[in-house]
């Protein structure tokens, strides 16, 4: 579905949305501790590996450090998927597009290309998240909330790198065409 004007997409306003998110984060700090989502990937993997290759899973320090599926972490990422599902089902006006329009303008309609790119991108993101010990949520948001320099530093650099990457990939298209 094409949306000519972003005003027609009923996204939430950023100020109330940030109050809502902050409320959830404070709730998580109160009931669990610093939230994280990339750890949820490890948690999922751990569950899978404990099923197919229990010895391997037991031999790796990284899996030892993160709890498996029967944990808050796994429940949280599963909950995020459910939350996304509920939000998606209850608002048909936010477009669900497998190939984002900006991507289509730059690389064409090919789904294979897009899927290959998101696979590769996902690979980079999770490898990097594990290296840093957290992601946008686990290091930037929860780290900065705890006033950790680490989180602030990570946040500045990820924004800078993402903006630079997006500019390199989509910059020319965005200058030339109407990217709504």
């Amino acid at each position: 579905m094409e949306y000519k004007d972003k005003a027609t997409i009923p996204y939430w306003k950023w100020i109330p949305a940030s109050f809502a998110l902050a409320g959830i984060i404070v709730f998580i700090f109160a009931t669990y501790g610093p939230p994280a989502s990339s750890s949820g990937f490890v948690s999922t993997l751990k569950g899978f590996l404990e099923w197919v290759a229990p010895e391997y899973a037991a031999s790796k320090a990284h899996y030892k450090a993160i709890p498996g599926p029967g944990s808050w972490l796994f429940a949280f990422v599963l909950g995020m998927a459910i939350g996304g599902f509920i939000a998606g089902r209850t608002s048909s006006r936010i477009p669900v597009r497998d190939v984002p329009p900006i991507w289509r303008k730059r690389f064409g309609k090919s789904r294979v290309k897009r899927y290959a790119a998101t696979f590769f991108g996902g690979f980079l993101i999770l490898f990097a998240s594990r290296l840093a010990g957290g992601c946008t949520l686990g290091l930037f948001i929860s780290g900065s909330t705890q006033l950790a320099i680490s989180g602030l530093y990570f946040g500045v650099v990820i924004f800078a790198a993402a903006m630079l990457t997006a500019r390199l990939i989509f910059g020319k298209i965005a200058e030339k065409e109407e990217i709504q």
Binding site: W72, V99, L124, C135, Y153, I158, F159, A174
Partner: protein
């Protein structure tokens, strides 16, 4: 178990919110990374600020757990860069991936699978990777509390900092959004404009092209035009950064692009300025100078400085890095190369120092250099009007729809792109003619001023050609389509302008030339320094530090402002005098102008008929002849008639009202004046009616290309009136003063040789080109350029556009067509040829000031470079102390700024300037005084 339910609940709420804000929409994330949409980063930053305050509250009541987060500069930084690349590429981060999968986005499923693979790989090599990457640069679990000493203060600082950040992102991104919105045009229904532009630009049609010239009009008025032969692709896009064809139908597209560039520099400047503050605060030199070393220094501060400098280097320095690449690719090293070399050297060396190389870091020099250079570029871009968008202006002239006549004779509205050769279209009064064609039915006057620059409407009847883009006059006509798409007259002009612009030699401006030499000095002085120190046996590290110091100071900060400030001042001075500078390089070139070519009509002349002489053929006096002619012509609207009536009014001749006025089609008019049958007719009428007139004065007037109107009483010629295009009073003054300056003055016209010669003689021109067809104007300029002269062209019509583009300096006069203005480098607001003088004078003054400023900016290097290289070190162990270098640098920046402001003083000296009233008054005074002188001389002679 409770934990699982809590986790699930938290996850659902979290996933719901991030879906609703649009963070799971990769498209929106990409827009946000491109700074086209500010909401997501603002949302994240504000959420963090609020959470920090919330967590403070939790801690105060003893609830809430935190976790230690060690900061490894290398590992965290590297991870963040890799993460950012993935984020920028996909638009997903781990959290949003889960929610997006739930939402049903297939690409997120692949991101999730890829993520699992990435996590698995890391887990596999965990033991190997962690020790290598974490140990050496791990600065520990530093928090803001460590820096500010108090948790509450730290939380408040973060909340305020992030709050300001959220506001700042909004401001910065929003400026970008405005630019984009502006590019789209104010009209939400702009799609129709877009599509019409596209259709026009891409309209295909017959490939037939013809070449013929024709003369039209009456009473000897000439209007010749050539339909250029050949055809080619019509470009809707002349520069690689310009918008695509979809924007063709919009107003001011190039200005949008220019505005976009200005906004880009402004944004980069402000962001870099903010990022520079922590770099300055953490710089040892500044800490030492301000005595805040103990307070501000902390373990690993050089890494923080490195992180900020990296951001400034890549974000703020990007235009220079890109410019360096572009200049080297073209083989024209200039300003960008100099800045690029300096910042790359400083950055690479300093980074190496941070990670272990012994030496000192240049981060604050690097950051301030980038900030000042960005400021300079911003000021310069803001003051100059920007590149031309002439082609789009041309395409805009054509209407998008036409009324095509069907076989049954009904009119249907169709897009112009659907018209084919032979179609008949109806053009109503006041409408633009959509295509080139021939009048099949009807008689009208056509305003071709937009195309030719000639202000007089041209009478056209059946069988005569009309040009697409011209405006139909008072009656409806039917036009047979002859050419469409790329073959139309306007498309041909587009092609010629495009070719001329492509072939225009790129003159390097002063700043680039200075930068070229400074680059050579920087590289060679650096190399010599390195070699010399190694040669005398000093260690590599010391020699390298000397080399870098030399290379960095060779690109002085003041250089960034030396030229832009002068440009800003001179541009505003120029604007005050009615000169709008669109291309700075061309304006700079005007100082060495050697030849100037004026388009005749409307530039040197007023483009209206004036009576030159009244010739007697019988007993009637000149005044009587004029009285009869004026009486008759007072009922006609023709330009020649107006000229005659004006002359009679000027001489205060009372003429009676004519009776039974009648136009003689194409040949003149007749009426009864004081009971006599009076006619004012063209030579063609005499020929047809076998009336012969032999008179030397008339022959002479016709030889000079003047238009002669015969006055007949009862079919007997009693006299004739010779008229010609009126030469502007100011033209004489302009020509003589330009010649005094050593500039050759030439004229270009489509008029006949005789007309051109008489004007050239009257004005004392050095050369002229007569009978030049529109498509040959650019060739004439090429010819003058071929003589080795730096040429300016002054014109106003669309047919002048290729010549304006071809000339070294294209000057359009303000009353001209949009296209001429768009193609020109400089626009004169008044139609006064004397303003060309002002351009030359202001250009010379500006140039002098720039040279002075470059000396102030770079001159201290003559002393500083050898000192920095360490020539005094072997004897006195003296190296230029960085603090002294910094003071000198700031001082030269201030001097440069003050000196640029002083350019304002030349305003008083500019002789060509002043208000038009002043000029008129001056010229009238001059004329009056010269008349008096002549009278005196005559008396003396008597």
């Amino acid at each position: 178990m409770t934990q699982i339910w809590l986790g699930l609940f938290s996850g659902i709420a979290f996933g719901f919110v991030i879906q609703r804000i649009g963070a799971t929409d990769a498209h929106r994330m990409a827009r946000s990374h491109l700074m086209l949409d500010a909401d997501i980063p603002r949302f994240m930053v504000l959420a963090v600020a609020l959470s920090a305050v919330g967590l403070f509250g939790l801690q105060a009541v003893g609830v809430g757990r935190t976790m230690p987060l060690p900061t490894s500069i290398v590992a965290t930084g590297l991870a963040a860069v890799i993460f950012g690349i993935g984020w920028g590429l996909t638009g997903y981060c781990p959290g949003t991936t889960w929610a997006a999968v739930g939402e049903g986005r297939m690409d997120a499923v692949f991101a999730l699978i890829g993520g699992l693979a990435g996590a698995a790989l890391f887990a596999h090599f965990h033991e190997t990777l962690i020790p290598i990457l974490y140990d050496p640069t791990n600065v520990g679990q530093i928090t803001l509390t460590d820096l500010f000493g108090n948790y509450a203060v730290a939380a408040a600082v973060l909340a305020v900092g992030f709050g300001v950040c959220a506001w700042g992102i909004g401001k910065l991104w929003a400026s970008n959004e405005r630019v984009v919105a502006f590019e789209r045009g104010p009209d939400p229904g702009g799609a129709s404009g877009n599509s019409s532009g596209k259709k026009t630009a891409k309209a295909g049609g017959s490939s037939k092209s013809s070449k013929k010239s024709k003369k039209s009009g009456s009473k000897g008025q000439k209007a010749s035009r050539e339909d250029p032969s050949g055809h080619g692709d019509q470009g809707g896009d002349q520069g690689d950064d310009h918008g695509g064809g979809h924007e063709d139908g919009h107003d001011g597209d190039h200005q949008d692009h220019h505005a976009h560039m200005v906004a880009d520099f402004r944004r980069r400047f402000w962001v870099s300025l903010v990022l520079t503050v922590p770099i300055l605060v953490l710089a040892p030199l500044i800490q030492k100078t301000l005595g805040i070393q103990k307070m501000m220094a902390f373990p690993g501060d050089s890494y923080v400085q490195f992180a900020f400098a990296t951001a400034v280097f890549f974000y703020g320095g990007w235009p220079f890095l890109k410019g360096l690449f572009d200049e080297l690719k073209k083989g024209e090293p200039g300003m960008m190369t100099l800045i690029g070399v300096a910042v790359i050297t400083a950055y690479v060396y300093s980074s190496a120092v941070v990670f272990g190389l012994p030496g000192k870091v240049f981060f604050w020099e690097l950051a301030t250099l980038i900030v000042i250079m960005l400021l300079g570029h911003w000021i310069e871009m803001r003051s100059v009007m920007g590149a031309s968008g002439a082609l789009k202006e041309l395409v805009k002239l054509l209407p998008s729809e036409a009324h095509r006549l069907t076989e049954s004779g009904d009119a249907e509205d169709v897009p112009v792109s659907e018209l084919t050769e032979g179609d008949k279209v109806l053009v109503k009064p006041g409408e633009k003619i959509p295509v080139d064609g021939e009048i099949a039915e009807g008689h009208t006057s056509v305003d071709e001023s937009m195309v030719t620059g000639e202000s007089t409407p041209v009478e056209k009847s059946e069988g005569e050609e009309v040009i697409g883009g011209s405006v139909n006059g008072e009656s409806t006509i039917t036009v047979t389509v002859q050419k469409t798409g790329d073959d139309t007259y306007l498309s041909q002009v587009v092609k010629m302008v495009e070719e001329a612009q492509a072939s225009k030699s790129k003159a390097q401006n002063l700043a680039d030339r200075a930068a070229f030499w400074l680059t050579i000095i920087a590289i060679s002085a650096g190399a010599i320094t390195l070699a010399a120190w190694l040669f005398v046996g000093r260690e590599f590290v010391f020699s390298l530090e000397r080399m870098v110091t030399v290379m960095v100071i060779t690109c002085p900060h003041a250089l960034g402002l030396a030229v832009p400030l002068v440009v800003a001042v001179s541009t505003s001075l120029a604007a005050g005098q009615g000169l709008l500078i669109r291309n700075r390089t061309a304006f700079e070139q005007a100082r060495s102008l050697e030849a100037i070519v004026f388009d005749k009509t409307g530039t040197l002349t007023e483009g209206r008929f004036g009576v030159d002489s009244v010739i007697r053929l019988g007993d009637e006096t000149e005044d009587e002849i004029l009285k009869l002619a004026a009486s008759l012509e007072s009922h006609s609207e023709h330009p020649i008639a107006r000229g005659i009536v004006e002359k009679a009014n000027e001489k205060e001749i009372d003429y009676p009202d004519p009776k039974d006025f009648q136009a003689i089609s194409g040949k003149g008019a007749q009426a009864s004046v004081d009971g006599k049958s009076v006619k004012a007719v063209s030579p063609g009428y005499l020929k047809e009616n076998d009336i012969s007139v032999e008179d030397d004065d008339i022959r002479k007037a016709r030889d000079e290309g003047k238009t002669v109107v015969y006055v007949l009483v009862d079919e007997n010629p009693i006299g004739a009136v010779a008229l010609s295009d009126v030469v502007r009073k100011e033209s004489r003054d302009a020509v003589s003063r330009l010649k005094k300056m050593g500039v050759q003055v030439m004229m270009l016209t489509g008029d006949a040789e005789a007309v051109a010669k008489s004007v050239a003689d009257e004005l004392g021109l050095d050369d002229y080109f007569a009978e030049v067809l529109p498509d040959e104007k650019a060739d004439a300029i090429k010819e003058v350029k071929g003589r080795g002269l730096i040429v300016a062209m002054v014109g106003d019509g669309i047919n002048d556009a290729p010549a304006l583009a071809e000339a070294d300096i294209g000057v359009a006069i303000g009353a001209g067509t949009d296209v001429a203005i768009e193609t020109a480098d400089i626009v004169l607001v008044r139609s006064d040829p004397r303003d060309v003088l002002a351009i030359v004078e202001l250009s010379r003054a500006t140039y002098r000031k720039m040279v002075q400023n470059l000396w102030w900016a770079a001159g201290y290097n003559i002393v500083a470079i050898p000192l920095a290289a360490g020539v005094l070190y072997p004897v006195w162990h003296y190296l230029l102390p960085p603090a002294v270098g910094a003071v000198v640098m700031s001082l030269s920046t201030v001097i440069v700024a003050v000196n640029a402001k002083l350019l304002g003083r030349v305003e008083d000296d500019l002789s060509g300037g002043g208000s038009s009233e002043d000029n008129d008054a001056n010229s009238e005074e001059a004329t009056a005084s010269s008349d008096k002188e002549q009278e005196n001389q005559a008396k003396e002679a008597a």
